[in-house]
Symmetry: D2
Subunit: 295 residues, 4 copies
């Protein structure tokens, strides 16, 4: 698996009462992301409110997404479970329904030691035969995996073949690059670091931004690859205020609110997450206006 470019994160749309998944809206979301040039689709990530779904819902979304994307691009299914057993079961299920890879974040109530984290990934790797993208995002998961641990798992656990780094600390990427002698592909998961991560050698950008910014993230990626730094800077600084807003206010609720502003009602994020405020809606409208025209 040789992944690069824009890995897009669909939201999980709910019906108006918030109780059921709106698969029709999910299908439209997936088609839209593919039209924007996504190089891979990653359902059930942070954006997809993975952690707030029941096991049954999670499985339905995984299965539906794989079928809908239908091999047009790779599908990387997100797993964020508290217990090893649940993570292993979900990983098995993802492989069974045809996922190309899983992206695993070790959510935890209690902090985990490096040994416990290693065993967690080892147990998942033992249960499947598709690649694992180790996903580090302490701001949401409460667990911080060092570059040293990530590279160690890459060397010692067969299916751990990629990393998604979301701390926003570029020095982590530097360390991964040096420690693995450039062999461990790393992806950027911090939207406001996109330009620099790509310049530092990230293989791609994992992002929910294409939901609202259309082809703009893909264009940024392409200009960096072409060495057109001035154009890349222009594109990045155009997107930055919107990226900052999305991240600052909260990805799922902003993306859902933004899609509604764009005429596509996908329901609200699941409680305790609420809706964005009216003032934030006004700000968001102004921010995404330019991208709609250009998109």
């Amino acid at each position: 698996m040789n992944l690069s470019g824009i890995i897009s994160y669909p939201i999980t749309p709910f019906t108006q009462d918030g109780k059921n998944i709106d698969f029709n809206a999910l299908g439209l979301s997936l088609e839209s992301l593919l039209e924007q040039g996504s190089d891979a689709i990653a359902p059930l990530g942070s954006t997809g409110e993975s952690a707030y779904l029941s096991t049954k819902e999670w499985r339905e979304v995984a299965e539906y997404t794989v079928k809908k994307v239908n091999k047009r691009v790779p599908v990387i299914v997100g797993i964020s479970e508290l217990t090893t057993e649940a993570a292993v079961e979900n990983a098995r299920f993802a492989q069974q329904v045809g996922a190309d890879a899983v992206m695993v974040i070790p959510v935890s109530y209690w902090k985990l030691t490096e040994l416990e984290l290693f065993d967690y990934y080892q147990a998942i790797s033992d249960a499947i035969s598709i690649p694992i993208m180790a996903y580090n995002n302490p701001a949401t998961s409460g667990i911080d995996m060092s570059p040293e641990l990530l590279v160690k798992m890459f060397h010692q656990i067969p299916n751990v073949t990629m990393v998604k780094e979301s701390t926003g600390d570029i020095q982590r990427m530097h360390k991964i690059k040096l420690l693995s002698e450039g062999k461990l592909p790393f992806f950027n998961g911090c939207n406001t670091l996109a330009l620099e991560a790509l310049c530092a050698g990230a293989s791609g950008w994992c992002t929910a931004a294409p939901n609202l910014l259309g082809v703009a993230p893909k264009h940024l990626y392409e200009q960096v690859k072409a060495g057109e730094l001035n154009k890349a800077q222009t594109l990045f600084y155009q997107q930055l205020p919107t990226l900052t807003f999305i991240v600052g206010v909260g990805i799922p609720k902003v993306v859902k609110a933004g899609l509604k502003l764009l005429g596509r009602d996908v329901g609200l994020a699941r409680k305790p997450l609420g809706d964005i405020t009216e003032q934030q809606q006004t700000q968001l409208k102004a921010l995404i206006h330019q991208f709609v025209r250009g998109g």
Copy 2:
């Protein structure tokens, strides 16, 4: 409800294969905590691995504990759920089986705004008629509730009547005291802050320590209440190395390992949590030795 003193946190014992709850061992644990002079029992807290249990298991532990304690002291059932819906359902269940109060920590994958946190507690309060202890522990939950928010909820949400503060920052307790004009009872949830929290006016100490330290925590509480500061200091500094060890290595696994060292096998913590190392076992043995003799 006029709660004070030592609120003890039982572990949730598992069978050797880790798959089932060992209710016999749970019963022994509860009896032991009552014998040590616990002023209340709080099952399904952080110590009880609440977050790692299935809904069915969680309910069985809640029901079993209430029955076993049988009104000898109040039972405060811990709730740590990602979605509002699950928290409300568990709170209703706790009340239904006879819990005296619930202790609620707003675990979350995404950060929550103050409004979202308020609504979360409001929804739970609306569903029950027993007191709620709002539990702030950002190190495990990823969410930090300010003293301002806690006091606001105390004033505006009927059943929010107590706070458990576990940040370890004594200034939070100062603020709660000043902002509520001394009316909001706060409990200390940071073991290594026990002496100072009690001296600053905490109503009690929420702790798993009695599982391993027997009556020592209760004695500390009593000496502070008696104004015997020198004796309280002596007791606190005796317990401090053990408290530091328990917190530093991780409460459920250390308490379980300690109970095994004391001759009571309660299984391991649930994966991804592992066992403590052999070196840690040696340290723990030395630490708890003195309290066993004294207990």
Copy 3:
């Protein structure tokens, strides 16, 4: 030297043009602090704007203070110098003019290793024969000395016999107590931690508060020593809003503004420090009102 209680920090008054020291006002300040029951006087600390004085000014204040206090209580002269050479020279001068001890904070532009910090204190100790209070306050000095280092210096450097801990982290005091087996006297330098530090065994409270709060800090100290915890709590929570204000806005400028409000004009803090705002003056007036009446 067996120091305990309230160690008071005088400001360094300037003339109206800010260029010269107003020794008359300094004398009045010292007398006032002695009247409030200070157990020691510490000129040229953070409060005394030590870092903003020329070498000549610093020496004049040291000499003047020792003479004025005239052995009524111990005088502990503060030293905050960037280079070892300047610190050694000032320490020698302080001893020569009759200081009872020096309080040394290793201000530095570059971070220092533990070895460099040790050598710094060693060099000062070698140059004098009076006690050194090692002063840790990373918020102002940029250098954080661990409890381990402080206890090591206490054991290995002859004149290092006391510690002033100003991080506000009570766990530092716990560690100093345990590591030194209760033998290293530690003083609290964080005003808003006064109650708890004293309850945890601090020998005293190093504070500028008596400048504005009169005998109130001394009363708090006495009630803790008497085991009158309820009274101590009442006194502490009465003083806490004012202590929080003083620390939050900045000690020298608040103390100087407060003294002016009390009818004693001691000039402004030296630039770049400015005056407090009008709004802050109104707040400060309300805060210190109660203590003036009582004082």
Copy 4:
């Protein structure tokens, strides 16, 4: 003044007893930096131990450097003073002896408000007619100036025309760029962020690295400007371990130790700064070996 590229920071060499400045060695250092392609020279920065010099020494170094560089490239003199008065005096002196600009960092014992910082820069600007580079480096100065403040000073204080950002947080540069609409030139002062800062639009890189790495930093700058990202990455990752070492161990002592390894004895850093350890010398030797050959 249209500054860009590599702004090199000379050390301040001392004689073997550490008491005097070795101007001969300083001259050789300056010539060497000019030979490596430096686009500007910045004496008396952090690297130059500015904070540890007497006023007399500081002035001699400023004057000597301007004369020695003799208009071959701009000279930007560093000012790091605690009081406004001393900063103003040094700025005046720098202009008088022919400096092209001053770089000002508001070192302080007490934290400063935004108003106090603004007034500090305003007072310096009022005293001179050459450009001021506002230098933000909270790790050494203890004061953190927000992008909002920096841009405000750029708009409102005539001589503040450039910023050196050394927090290592690329988001600060993003904000400066957006808030000033690209008009405020910013320079990177965090060595391990050099690649990304230049890619994000930094006008140049302020660095002591050319002292040990020769032309390598200049080459990195040139490749980024040419849009040769792959080459720039290769150059950056080659330099990164050495940059990390220099910053981690401490710039002045590592640069001085490195120069000695290269055959140029410039004395030690001034106490309390010590020498690097033998183990560090071995590491440093290995690190700089490759650049010596290439340089």
